[in-house]
Amino acid sequence: MSVEQVLFYVFGAIAVLSALSVITLKNVVHSAVALAATLLSVAGIFLTLRAEFLAGVQVIVYVGGILVLFIFVIMLISIEKSIVERQFNRQWVVALITALLLIGELGFVVWRGKDSLVVAEGTQPQASVLGVTGNTQLVGETLYGQYLLPFEIASILLLVAIVGSVALAKRKTQAE
């Protein structure tokens, strides 16, 4: 087994196990730490796919930004009360059956179609396409060239989200 394969299976196992602990742990702070482990191992999986820029973005934006925001909010609101109450819905059996059907369907489809996913020998991309030229340069050129309009729309979306979250969080309560 090559280094790439070993890294993929190690990171994949860590990602799945810590994702399971995100949804099963009682304490929300523990869930957030498990989510950090999942996000970091997904960044490792991006590295095995030679997407170095995305791995960096994953660590900086997800773990350094979004997850810290989650932990801020968890610290702002009291967690003592929520730990002692029941954590799961009454309809968890139905949810579990639905999820089993979903994973069965997805797994079946991927497994049945796995031969059609292999790219034919002649059309296989050269390693230089994604590796040697510099992944960041390539992503930047595509993002600011072909995908310039979606990029601008994404920035407007972020602006709207900022204004919206400030307006939501600042709203006066009925008691005030």
């Binding site: 994702a19 995305l54 994953q58 609101i77 819905n89 996913l117 292999v118 595509t142 979306l157």
Partner: protein, 100 residues
Amino acid sequence: MVPIHHYLLLGAALFTIGVVGVLTRRNIMVILMSIELMMNAVNINLIAFSSQLGHVSGQVFAIFVITVAAAEAAVGLGIVIAMFKNKETMNINEIDLMKW
């Protein structure tokens, strides 16, 4: 070289774990975290296909997914704070004003 369907199966597993989290948990913070898990699963698929096909568009789309995830987290956490101010709870079963 890891075959691409292993990446797709990993993405499917992470997505399903996220679905289970959204459907079964009652704490709104864990529900938001499960949504982040699902977005990560989508990103794994996008980047696996991007590297398989030697085309960088998938990575650009993954950047857009991360942008949407950041916006969603900001608005979601704003809603959580507003909810906590009004109801003093993180339990979604107590937020039933619009439930019929």
